[in-house]
Amino acid sequence: MEVVPTHRKAAVPDATPALPLYRSAPQLEVRLEDFELFAIDRLRVLKGISDALSRGKRPDEMENLVSGLWKANMRHQDSSRVVEKDVISHFVLRLVYCRTEDLRKWFLSMETTLFRYRFRLLSASAQRVIMGELDLPYNSVISAEFENVKDKLNQVARSSVSAGPSLHTAETLFFKVPFEEVPELVAGRKVFIHKGFAYVAMHQVVSVVVTQFRSLLSKALVLTNRKWTSSIREQEQDRLTPIVEALSSSYIGPDYSQPEQFSEMSLREIDKVAASSFPLCMRHLFEKLREDHHLKHGGRMQLGLFLKGAGLKLDDALAFWKAELSRKVGAERFDKEYAYSIRHNYGKEGKRTDYTPYSCQKIILSTPGVGDHHGCPYRYFSDENLRAALGKMGVGSQIMEDVMDKVRNRHYQLACTLTFESIHGSSCDAGINHPNQYFKDSQKILQAKVIHSCSTQGIKCTIQADQRA
């Protein structure tokens, strides 16, 4: 791809498929303005996908949403340049998002999701073309073999909700694929597996294609990163580099990996703050820890990183965890076995990278098991337990029903947002995307109230002083 400063020279590659695989950078000349504008348009799409995923949208909702986002942002007034815009914007964002592991992960996940839904919208013949391009030479199951496994295939089709009610196995084309190539279908028990082969229905091929796409892109991103550090950044330091660097920070939002400058949480106030400003996921972990003097690994990570993000200093964190955990395992074992991982979370051990507090999306997607208390309570609590927990937080019965309604529709972050609004008596337009954001917003509101009541009553000033100590 070549970037030209002024006049444009459109060169649409001939016979580009409606859905490119982005296997090599296009031989196109791009105006500098387009370079940035196209990228921003695509980022809007990816950001929209990211938000939708974190709200736990269902596949059918996602399909509409992605198609809508694409139409809204990726059009071009010159229809012959639509594909060009698609390809260019993808390659620009590759540069932007190749530079760290976290950026790559985010980009990979969003681009893969985008690809998945675009692929689903293609016609069957267009899908076959892409399978060909990806070298997926699957043998369809021959009829003699089909007779043998027909019953099992039917069983799987009926057991799998997403297969749709009107699926007739007899009319569906099946492919025999090594199970390693369809991890998602295996994980969801959405295929029949026999002797190492998964029997994949034509409509499930999406998963195979997406896996291929993802792995190609993942490798490409690593290569791009190498090129970026070895040459591009240097060569383009006056032209593309500033654009690339600005683009990367513009849309992801804060990750709370560094505690806010002004906020500092002291051990003295931690219980009070937990009761007033922790989101339910953290409150629950905090209370369980106080109660059991124990949390399993997943819980320690989720709570520990949150506390770090909320401003608990390393020494205080060590004291806090020690006070609890050592009651169960003794101070000596704590020092030997747990202190390490706490320092590790603060980047003092191991790779010495600071670990980032978990976002709502990560927490929602985690899979707590027996004895675990982490994960998103809105998702994992039973109806009954959730109602009890919300009641304890002070959510009224009217709002409670709204919250439960969101939960039933799997809008866990919206449920959390409603809870926040109900407790704080103040709206939260941006929605809750991160437990540390919940915490920060809550503190802001409460401190404003304290200041307000200070001026009227003059006795609560100590509280505010406390919170700043």
Binding site: F179, E180, F197, K296, Y355, T367, V370
Partner: protein, 455 residues
Amino acid sequence: MTRLEGEGGGDDMAIDGAEPAKPQLCNVPEGFDPNYLKLYYGKLFPYAEIFKWMSYGNDGKHPGCDHTYFGRREFSFTLENDIYLRFQSFSSSSELESSIKEKCPFKIDIGPVYTVDPAKRHAYAKAGDNVFSPVERELIFDIDMTDYDDIRYCCSGADVCLDCWPLMTIAIKVIDTSLRDDFGFNHILWAFSGRRGVHCWVCDLRARRLTNEQRGAIAEYFRVYKGNENNHKKVSLGQVLHPFLVRSYNEVLETFFEERLLPGQKLLETEERFENVLQMIPDESFASDLRGRWQDHRRSSNVKEDINIVRWQQLKHLSKSGKHKAQGLRRCVEEIVFSFTYPRIDMEVSKHMNHLLKAPFCVHPKTGRVCVPIDPDHCEEFDPTAVPTLSSLLRELNMGGPVADHENGWEGTSLSKSIRFFRSSFLQPLLKSCKEEIEASYNTELQQSKNSLSW
């Protein structure tokens, strides 16, 4: 159980469920003693077998053998004072043997095979590129009895007995069958974890080369239990069961539930216990109908029959009767059976290549029991309370007369059955496949290089 991850995936430690040891009076003569352990490593530990296994045929003379293979495998030792040595590596069987004899580890863990010798990883890291990463690792499963504490009434925590052990037998049967029939794996080793669980090592080449994502997919395939501490309904099955679950239910779960767990754990005997079962029934009128019958003691006058079985038959019968023939009640019977029987694997252990797992034939430092292999075809005969212990083995050694008669110290002890089983049922077929694979891949490479020459 101590669990550690490699540096690749975040080397934070997780030490879960390791409660302080309770004094076990009955075990006093069986106690664990570092001096006994020294003798065990001196005379009994099967070094040659472990080396053969971990070499996967690469210790042979075939030109296709990779002689660096064994040396890139991570071992880690936990020493007497909880000193933890990670990234140990050995270039030969004798090096492995002399290091174990010298350090006398309380626990030996086996990690992945890395791109480079893990002991020299820092040197490689300094050289620039981040080349140190795992390339091969057995697909492993860790099943621990503590994860079943909500459904066993006989014991809890670290204890196991013959009333709860069937849960492990079920896990072996369900997972072993699926690994072979569904996933097509052949070389699977099951081992007693030494106290309260079992470990599984899937050693086929295909398994060793799985990515983390693929490992996660297999682990998810096995996962049915979706509940946690805050959700009563632990198992949620869809309207129609996947063939794997149908087979597991028909061949293993139902029988074990009705014949072993129901009477063994007395699941419906008291009100408190049957309430736990009734809670899983979504239909309130059905549940209260049963509650009424079960609270009424006079009806169950037949003392000869086990009350648990009688009540279960009532539940099953009623669920099919016209009165409650609501959709989902049949599924509910299955869900109850699944809740009380279905395997619960530690997902995290299976998902990541760089998770460590205790080596077979280690001795558990709390129980003194050897982590012996378990034959999946006869796993119902396995008795965790009859596994050879350090002291029983040493007593046998002392009684066995001149050991020099045997090539191996373990001949004539009760460990010999386990080692022979390991050799004949696991190691030999595995090495045969490895040899074929090495030859095949060598020939393909040869062919390819010929082709490229003539190009």
